[in-house]
Structures are given as C-alpha cells and as structure tokens.
C-alpha cells in the first residue's frame, strides 16, 4: 500500500514538473542562439549540416564531455562484468558454430556495412550523419562478425589502441584550435573551403573521423564484454 501511494505521488510530481513544458506555445521563430547559428553558421564554419556544426564546433565541448561519458560507461561495463579466470576450461571450450546462412551473410554484408559507416562518417558535415552514427554502424559490422564467428573478435589491444589514439586525436585537434585559431575546439584551423564539397568545413571532418573511430571502438568493447559474459 505504501509502495503504491509513493508511486502515485511520484507520477503526480513528474506530471507537475513536465506540465510547463507541455503547455509551451508552438514557436513561430527561432530562438536567439538558433537564429545566430542558422544565419552565420555556414559562413563561419563552412559546414552545410548545421546540426553537425552545433555538435562539433559550437557545442564541441559538450561532445568532448559526452565522449568521456561514453568511455566511462564502457569502463564501467568492463569493471562490473570483470571475472577472474577460474581455469582454462572456459577458454578451451569451443563455442557452438553459427549457422551457414549467418556466416555466408555476414561475409557478404560486412564490406558493405563498413563502407556505409565510413561514408556516413565522412559526409557528416554535408548531409545527415557524422561520427556517432557512422561509428555505431561500424560497430554493427563487427557485431555481425562476432555473431557469425564466435571466438573471432577484434583483438583487445587493437581496440584499446584505436580508442586511445582517436581520443587523443580529438583532444589534439581541440588544442590545435586553441593554439592556432584562438579558441578551444575552433575548427577553423584548416581552410573552410567550398561549402557542400567533401573536403570543406575546416577540421570538422577530422573530428568526425576521431569521434567515429572512438564510438565504434567503445561500442565493440561493450558488445565484446557482454558477449564474453554469455559464452
């Protein structure tokens, strides 16, 4: 009874908190920050996709923090699921083979999924996409291989190296922005180029690549931890 009334109370409090958001009148115009970004974003940074401009440059510090949170969550998953190797019996046990359909399909689809992921990472500044989306697609390609061929995964050392190097590259580009262009994470350290072409928007594609590799490596690490748990 006391549980039930506490639940109802909590729902009422949540409704009270969310109520002002619900009666907000629909907007007709952009807010000040959004108006400034949509008006000057293209001339400032040269990226056709304004959402990417916000993620990578205007609010780049948030993205750096977010990548840190992702790293912490991955480390947390590894820490929580850590188990001392009891004996070698668990390792020598051969996991059950996947079906032939899955194996053939995985080999067939793998290159296309990787190409799609790379495409989405490299086109983040001119079309919908970017490091996060492309990185997750890359991770899915490796998940497919992990499902089709149990026991085969990206070597742990390689994953950790990619993760660390891409994080280091991200922070390095950010500090280069501070040194050359005067602001932390300023992407105008490279010429902005012709808006809409592949090589444009200063350092935004480079940061996208760093984010993509980092997110992909983190995701594969999380999946590998959970996969190891199941086996």
């Amino acid at each position: 009874m006391i549980k039930r009334s506490l639940i109802v109370l909590l729902l009422i409090v949540t409704a009270y908190i969310l109520y002002p958001l619900a009666i907000l009148p629909p907007q007709d115009n952009l807010g000040n920050a959004a108006a400034a970004i949509t008006a000057d974003g293209v001339t400032d940074l040269g990226a056709a996709n304004l959402v990417t401009s916000v993620i990578v440059s205007y609010r780049g510090l948030d993205t750096l923090g977010e990548v840190t949170v992702l790293f912490l969550a991955t480390a947390g998953v590894g820490f929580v699921l850590f188990r001392k190797r009891k004996s070698d019996t668990a390792d020598t046990e051969v996991p059950r083979q996947a079906s032939e359909f899955l194996q053939t399909g995985a080999i067939f689809l793998w290159p296309y999924i990787v190409i799609l992921g790379i495409f989405i990472i490299f086109h983040g500044h001119i079309s919908p996409g970017g490091g996060f989306q492309g990185g997750v697609i890359l991770a899915m390609a490796f998940l497919l291989i992990m499902l089709a061929f149990p026991g085969k995964a990206l070597p742990e050392g390689f994953r950790h190296a990619m993760e660390s190097l891409s994080g280091l590259a991200y922070v390095g580009i950010a500090i280069a922005g501070l040194a050359i262009a005067g602001d932390f994470l300023n992407t105008r350290i490279l010429p902005t180029g012709q808006t809409g072409s592949l090589i444009s928007a200063g350092a935004i594609p480079l940061i996208s690549v760093a984010i993509g590799i980092k997110v992909g490596a983190e995701m594969v690490t999380i999946l590998a931890h959970l996969r190891k748990e199941e086996a």
Binding site: L11, A22, A39
Partner: protein, 117 residues
C-alpha cells in the same frame, strides 16, 4: 502541443510506470529505454517549427534562407548526444543486471533484500 510531443509525454509516462511497478530488472531497464525515447521525442518537438525544413544547406535551402526556413538545430544536436548517452547508460544497467544475476541467480527485485528499508 504537437502530436510528437504528446507521444513523447505518453512514452515518458509509460516508461516511468514500467520502471516503478515492474519487479523484473530487465523490464525495469526496458522501462528506462522507453522513457529515454519519450524524452528524446519531447526535446526534438521543442525545436520543431511547423512548415520548416531540416537545417542542412543544399540546393533546396540556400544559406540566406536558413534563418526563415530551417528548424532549430540545437535540440537535434542535443538529442543526438542524449541518444548515445542513453545507449551507454543502458549498457551499464544491463551489465549490472548480469552481475546481479550472476551473484543472486535471480532478476526479481523482491528477492534482492539487502537494500530494503
């Protein structure tokens, strides 16, 4: 209130109800995911302006037109961030569930009484 934001509030309510009333840890995590999705829908709908298009400059939307014809790019960027964080938090929650199952051989929170008051 747009249809999307109403849907978002419904999903928040469903997810919160599920998190509070279910006894199985996996169902609680599913509830969290549903609530997460609802929050994303609400944030995206806050930046939406009726009749406008995505804030991506191309042939259909010139840079000069953008302030008058594009929606707010900031909520979209925030939601992209929130989706990735939600994924990381869900993975962490699931690994806690795995760990609890490994120690206790149960996922029912009524059987896990150490933290009961």
């Amino acid at each position: 209130m747009t249809l999307v934001s109403i849907l978002g509030f419904v999903l928040i309510a469903v997810g919160l109800w599920g998190m509070l009333t279910r006894r199985n840890l996996i169902k609680i995590i599913v509830g969290f995911s549903i609530m997460d999705t609802g929050v994303h829908l609400v944030i995206v709908s806050l930046g939406f302006i009726k009749g406008r298009t995505a804030p991506i400059i191309n042939k259909a939307l010139s840079a000069g037109d953008a302030p008058s014809r594009a929606v707010d790019p900031i909520p979209s960027a925030l939601v992209l961030t929130a989706i990735v964080i939600g994924l990381a938090v869900t993975a962490l929650l699931l690994s806690f569930a795995v760990r609890i199952y490994r120690e206790k051989r149960t996922l029912n929170i009524d059987d896990i009484s150490e933290l009961k008051w």
